[in-house]
Symmetry: C2
Subunit: 320 residues, 2 copies
């Protein structure tokens, strides 16, 4: 059952030939979400044909700097032209409603699907979205304007039933569902088989945290504690520490320190300043602090799978 | 002396893998202008490295549909981050000021260069911009919202002086300038050499008209009469005539009829609906009505040159 994060853009403020502005697609058990939507995101979604933009249920915008939001209005327009009818929910800081409203008004466009904008409180860690498969929390970040990270956590899946017990106790469909939900089995003679003899533990719920843009802050540690995947911005390396401080960004070293302290499964880097012509420097610096780091790159998908233990598989754009 | 039009996007409303939304760069004797600015235009400007975005003096927006304007705010932000200090003037329909204002406000950004927005009257053919080398006129178009085309016409260049006459009459620098400007030469003995004996006619001023988006309308014929280059939208072919009528677009055949009636030098097609997987059909249809047609393609430059007569040279993206 899938839990995947596809990187659409890891550039910082100024687009380059190498990198697109911020955007990622998160798919958890067939429910898809977009996080940030820089200019050109809809073209990136076209480029990676294995993605299904029509399935996006909700969009989460971290903050209203252009490289995180300027692709949103164009994507909504294209959804309209493509005949989308499904409701979409958009979460982000205050100002988002006004931004969309004015753009809709001056272009004279109307969306043929419900589009509900939720302006969130960027100062609070709280659940802002929930459906049958996933819940999303806001993570307060420290940037030059109101900014929120997002934590995606899948809902607990059903327990694994031991296949032999189904025949042994001649379980009906409803009984199987009840056992998988954790109930004990009551036999016709009123004797009770405890659930632990019928099932094994399912994999723990998987989680992904998106933290961009932000200055290094340990206040987020409780929220990102032990997440399987952490995307944390690494706009600079340590050679630009003062600049990171001033512009309220994070260095690769600092992001790796946070990953280590939070004991995350895997750190993905990104939001690379255009002053670095090659991105390997971010990986090298981060690896000095934490050994499970992956250099975020456009088109790559991180898939969280269960092979007796939790594993992260990185899949290239042509491997789907 | 250059007069060039580089095509950055010839897609219609929905971006595709093949085509970018509308944008073109016009360079006339070192003065550069952008016409329309769909999403991703700043990336297109990066891709075609022979272009110099920092030299753009003014931007002309035809109308406020997203595929013609959604790249503007991001490009202005990037100009700011790249340290631009030169003033920029932006021309377009009413609503443009509000669109830019709100986007600047919510992103918390400030432009470090003067950015002057001119909301133009889209119902009138009039000169809206003029500098030492070029004048730009608005062309009233017929679309679903207020829309203006643009006519670029270079200023008359100086007359060609006949080189031998300079020595013959021992002309000083100021005298040469006066003769090139059309004055007769008065010799020390007060005798007069008429200008026609000293100079030959310079090439006629070159011109380019941009007409997109619009329904077929002959009201534009006087404004585009005999222009050297006409970019006219060809959103559909005749198989979608009814759709062209309804959505207020033009077919390839209709655009070619206009080109023929206006006796233009060259017609460039574009703004292709995504329903046509291949664009050759637009060329084929247009050629049935007019024989000087070029299929507009991203990255191609049309250069107007003088080789005894006016010629159009089409230059590919790698030939610069």
């Amino acid at each position: 059952v899938e839990f995947k994060v596809t990187i659409l853009g890891v550039g910082a403020a100024v687009p380059t030939l190498q990198h697109h502005p911020s955007s990622q697609m998160v798919t958890i058990r067939n429910h898809s979400f977009l996080v940030d939507c820089g200019e050109g995101t809809q073209m990136q979604l076209l480029k990676y044909a294995f993605l299904k933009p029509s399935r996006i249920r909700a969009i989460f915008i971290s903050h209203l700097h252009g490289d995180h939001v300027f692709g949103l209005i164009g994507m909504l327009h294209s959804f309209a032209l493509q005949g989308r009818q499904d409701r979409i929910d958009i979460y982000g800081p205050s100002g988002l409603q006004q931004l969309i409203d004015v753009q809709m008004k001056v272009t004279g466009a109307q969306l043929p699907f419900p589009c509900v904008i939720h302006q969130i409180d960027c100062q609070t860690f709280q659940c802002i979205y929930e459906d049958s498969k996933v819940a999303v929390w806001s993570i307060p970040l420290r940037h030059r304007i109101e900014t929120s990270g997002y934590l995606f956590r899948e809902k607990q899946v059903a327990r694994n039933i031991i296949p032999e017990t189904i025949d042994q106790y001649q379980m009906a469909y409803q009984t199987i569902r009840a056992v998988k939900a954790g109930e004990d089995l009551v036999l016709p003679d009123k004797s009770v088989i405890p659930n632990k003899d019928l099932t094994t533990d399912p994999p723990a719920p998987r989680s992904f945290a998106y933290c961009s843009d932000t200055r290094y802050t340990e206040t987020i540690l409780p929220y990102i504690k032990e997440v399987d995947l952490l995307y944390h911005e690494t706009t600079f390396c340590e050679d630009n520490q003062a600049k990171a401080e001033k512009t309220m960004h994070t260095t690769a070293k600092e992001a790796a320190i946070l990953a280590r302290k939070a004991e995350v499964g895997y750190l993905i880097t990104g939001h690379y300043s255009s002053r670095y012509p090659k991105t390997e420097v971010f990986l090298k610096e981060a690896l000095e602090e934490f050994d499970r780091v992956s250099l975020g790159e456009e088109g790559y998908t991180y898939s969280l799978e269960w092979k007796g233990k939790r594993v992260v598989k990185k899949v290239g754009p042509l491997e789907h």
